[in-house]
Amino acid sequence: MSEIPGDLKFLKSHEWARVEGDGKVTVGISDHAQGLLGDLVYVELPNVGDTVQAGNACAVVESVKAASDVYSPVSGTVVEVNSALVDKPETINEDAYGDGWLFTVEIDDAEQLNELLSPDDYAELLEDEDH
């Protein structure tokens, strides 16, 4: 399994959030999640300006074998989406924590971040899933 970057926070449902420091949070799916899905062939992103709610589905990633909802780890307004993924969804397979990011949210309430899992907690969760 690849290294989990230390600056990320996670949802149990395998989304990650990176705090960008200016009230913005970038969201993606974990390397573990892309591995479970297999080769990704389609991504449905939210629109810039959409309001998203923490824990609600706001994007879809589809591999050859399955479609999976992506839940937003935080509430806020979408300020940027990774439209390069529309033509190259496989970028998520190649670099889930980097170029494979999905969208950026301007968050309503920074407190919400405290409810997310730390990298260590997430790693532990994955270990438990393996058993």
């Binding site: 297999g38 080769d39 062939v41 389609y42 449905e44 879809v60 589809e62 050859v64 074998k65 479609a67 529309v86």
Partner: protein
């Protein structure tokens, strides 16, 4: 209880991701389902299909029994080694399973049926066979490897002893024969498959299946998983039992009319319903769809046509075409402008003839 084929440890050693498939622990891919798909279209790949059920029927009245059991006519099988694709039906005309019948000799026919339907198939065949005094024997002591792709036959033939190379290379489509490998393994080689590519399906004694697989691997044939097998067979326009048809669907409603022989005076199970359906008009049809917009067609999505609603049966992203393709069952008649409901949006799709892809080529009108 999960069952394992003799190649289970081999798959794991090759880095396969394993999944449950009809009660069997099987490889879905060995890294990339897409790469495996393209490899079969461009060169060759091999699939472990040892989970499939081999059943031997023996007895003087076996041919007569098969005339009664299946919808296609076994009288098309006139030379030992020839094979026939067909369905066995219930009295309501519904498909119990699809299968391949190999004609070995007049008192011995071999069936290969689906793994997921093993129990009900064996029960049904056993019940029907009694009246014909035909013995039904499952042959679990065999493994099976499908080697598929434009270079697949060459790879298999290269493993055979000299004397068997020419006869095996001369096998026609849907024909099979026994052969012996360089290592002295007796195998049953059939020029059949489930990918739309040329190739062989090889039945190997279980004790030698790992050695046979490893010999193919050494000859440069890469393994491919069930994921690629599914996208390849759908592109090839081939049905999957349980998804595209089942015991509530007749062959006519599953685009399998070509496997039904209404030959004079042959009283096969389900025939009366098929004849009635033909006379009255088949209520539903199976059609092929291509979606030009981005997204993926999936099993269970609602399909809207001029004649009412239907649903997606098998649907996937086609790696060869780069678009979503599907089979759908919809009401009979000209379907008009067809749309598919994907997460509440109605996306237009095109109705096309299938196969979508055959022998590496995207068919006309598909892309």
């Amino acid at each position: 209880m999960t069952q394992k084929t003799i190649l289970n440890d081999t798959h794991r050693a090759l880095g396969a991701k394993m999944v449950d498939f009809g009660g069997w622990d099987m490889p879905i891919h060995y890294g990339s389902q897409l790469d495996e798909h393209h490899l079969v279209r461009s060169a060759a790949g091999m699939f472990d299909v040892s989970h499939m059920t081999v059943v031997d029927l023996t007895g003087a009245r076996t041919r007569e029994f098969l005339r009664h059991l299946v919808a296609n006519s076994v009288d098309k099988l006139q030379k030992p080694g020839k094979a026939l694709y067909t369905a066995m039906l219930n009295p309501q005309g519904g498909v119990i399973d699809d299968l391949i019948i190999y004609y070995m000799s007049e008192d011995w026919f071999r069936l290969v049926v689906n793994a997921a339907t093993r129990d009900k198939d064996l029960a049904w065949i056993g019940e029907q066979a009694k009246a014909f005094d035909v013995q039904v024997k499952e042959r679990p002591e065999f493994g099976m490897v499908a080697v598929q792709g434009p270079t697949a036959r060459e790879a298999v033939i290269g493993l055979l002893r000299d004397a068997d190379r020419t006869p095996v290379s001369k096998l026609g489509r849907f024909a099979a024969r026994e052969a012996v490998t360089n290592d002295g393994i007796t195998v049953f080689v059939a020029r059949t498959g489930y990918t739309g590519e040329d190739g062989f399906e090889v039945i190997v004694p279980e004790a030698q299946t790992v050695a046979f697989w490893n010999a193919l691997l050494a000859a440069g044939v890469k393994p491919a998983g069930l994921g690629a097998r599914d996208t390849l067979r759908l592109e090839a326009g081939m049905n999957l039992y349980g998804q595209d048809m089942d015991d509530t669907v007749t062959p006519y409603e599953a685009a399998l009319a070509w496997t039904v022989a209404l030959d004079e005076g042959r009283d096969f199970i389900g025939r009366a319903v098929l004849e009635a359906q033909q006379a009255a008009g088949v209520p539903r049809q199976m059609i092929g769809l291509v979606m030009d917009e981005k997204g993926v067609l999936r099993h269970g999505q609602k399909v809207l046509t001029a004649n009412g609603e239907g649903e997606i049966l098998s649907g996937t992203f086609s790696p060869s075409i780069g678009k979503a393709i599907a089979f759908a069952r919809v009401p009979a008649g000209e379907p008009g402008d067809v749309r598919v409901d994907i997460r509440g949006k109605e996306i237009p799709v095109r109705v096309v003839k299938f196969p979508f892809v055959r022998e590496g080529k995207i068919q006309d009108g598909i892309a």
